[in-house]
Symmetry: C2
Subunit: 351 residues, 2 copies
């Protein structure tokens, strides 16, 4: 943790991310000014508390929250306009921006990627705690230690979880964990296009999970795909090659089994709680009538049995007035939970 | 609903599915006998209540619960062994079995596909209510009405949700909603193979959703892929073509945006609650300390505000002792819920 006192931050771009940073830094006691190419946007942001001082002084740090496509140019411009300020940006692709910086300014530029919630879109109001408990990637590049420290102070003031990475490694990683999964989920969803509505109704929780992010807003992805096209294409190549191996295999059964076995090993590396590997929780599935208050009663009965519920998944049945609710608990608690729920007249669907 | 009284069913194959059907039918008052090529398996199934009569009489219905690869042969054999019984099977691919039936027997054969829970595997004990509130597809084919009615009685005795389909349409539909999504989810997971553990840790809820089914047991998929290879390959062709269009596009941003827009339309057709289109619930995300009882308290506070929670998703933070819990509620309730939670000192992460 840095010992620096909060100081003056200037935000360029008063959209959702810029305004949310402004609100959060103001709450944390920083001096914040902001600007936006659209003066009405800037005015709105100021009126909701995203800034608290005029932008007349030289700021200690400039935070560029411009759309990804223009971010490289706006960052270069900021480095020229404020020749002694540290400059960071929040675009979700980092190498193309780092590569656009003049060598003379590289000691003052630090890349940031605050990984805010997936359900956020421009229409939703800014919130000072948008970044709380989310990863905030910091790409130091050629920056001085004091510059990196100031950016880290911003992330910590917003209660983010700071992660240090090289810009290129970041871009490769987000192509694999975010950009390609988005494209592929959309392709799986698009392949439903030939089905009748009754056939789509056979979908289970598996399809719902795979395609949840396919409901994303298309517009925001154009810039991301363009800026990270090299890593995205490489990841898609990898995925397409695996799918083609299945399609062209002499024994499709063996090819599918091999691919699933490989994927399963990787899934185990996706962190669950507390940064460890995904916990091996035991699912206890309960038939829950689709009536108000049933979920609460279920959790109360679990709590009365002294069992903590680690995770919940709810599968809504398409044609029946019940849903299947799965409580994920520590393996050593599953037996006690199952018995307690049976004692409370819950129907256990499968164990 | 048929008015037939429960009658004698004989089950061929005493694995998880066969035993679960047996337990369920016994509970529903049917006479149930069973057999398995492995006499120890059959004995175990009888000892857990999957049968209640010896298999000496001619059954009214024979339910083949053999592995998919041998199902066509076992069904043909059953039609020969019991020349006046109705025969059904539970394999998750239907046309190859229907096509294997002799024309003379077609009036007595009905295909079934009980779509039991995704988390079930052979190691888990059979349960009589495994099929409760799950779809049970019935493919009548060339069967007589009385035969179809008897199979429907079985499905209803197990409290399944009966869905009538043509065998070929079923196979095409499950390739799109289940088999191809499984293969693609595994390919997305396999593409994580080149990343360091720290990079995989950037994964958000989106990747966790897309790859959840990639944790499936590889072995069971070989038979399914072989039997449904034509429909699976056609679906993979569709998905690969969409991914290649993105990869080879002159403007990857536009291609990605187009694909996401197409996928988004299809996702809206996946049914949510009550068979309607996915409800447009409003998410309210709360920062929840990772301590026992917090989730229960959260739901109690929501209930006290008179708000019913339609769905819950929990995002465990990899490095911090808090998780983000999203309550999905009717849009008209979101404001009241948010205010009530703030009043109870919950931190709303984003709205």
């Amino acid at each position: 943790m840095s010992t620096e006192a909060p100081c003056h931050a200037h935000i360029v771009g008063a959209g959702l991310i810029g305004s949310s940073i402004g609100i959060g830094l103001c709450s944390a006691g920083w001096s914040v000014s902001l600007e936006d190419p659209d003066e009405r946007t800037a005015k709105l942001a100021r009126s909701i508390g995203a800034a608290n001082v005029p932008g007349t002084e030289e700021p200690a740090i400039v935070i560029v929250a411009a759309p990804p496509a223009v971010a490289p140019e706006v960052v270069r411009d900021a480095l020229r306009r404020w020749p002694s300020a540290v400059v960071t940006d929040v675009a979700s692709v980092k190498a193309p921006i780092a590569n656009a910086i003049d060598e003379a300014d590289a000691s003052r530029y630090v890349g940031s990627h605050p990984m805010a919630g997936r359900e956020i879109s421009g229409a939703i109001a800014a919130q000072g705690d948008l970044f709380k408990a989310r990863p905030w990637v910091v790409c130091a590049g050629a920056a001085e230690e004091s510059a990196v420290s100031l950016v880290t102070d911003v992330a910590r003031a917003l209660q983010s979880d700071v992660v240090s990475m090289e810009a290129k490694a970041h871009d490769i990683a987000v192509a694999r964990v975010s950009h390609a999964p988005q494209v592929v989920a959309s392709a799986v969803a698009a392949a439903l296009g030939s089905l009748e509505a009754d056939d789509v109704a056979l979908a289970g929780q598996g399809l719902r999970d795979v395609t949840r992010i396919a409901a994303s807003d298309p517009a925001m992805w154009a810039d991301i795909a363009r800026l990270n096209s090299a890593a995205l294409v490489r990841t898609l190549d990898h995925i397409i090659a695996d799918l083609e191996d299945v399609r062209e295999s002499d024994d499709i059964g063996e090819a599918v089994t091999d691919l699933i076995a490989r994927g399963r090993l990787e899934v185990q590396r996706i962190p669950g709680k507390h940064g460890g590997p995904t916990r091996d929780w035991t699912p206890v599935t309960v038939v829950v009538p689709d009536e108000p208050g049933q979920l609460l009663t279920l959790l109360q009965d679990a709590a009365a049995a002294g069992v903590n519920v680690e995770d919940i998944t709810i599968e809504h049945s398409p044609r029946q007035p019940v849903g299947l609710t799965t409580l994920h608990v520590l393996p050593e608690n599953a037996g006690a939970l199952r018995q307690a729920l049976i004692d409370h007249n819950w129907e256990i669907a499968s164990s």
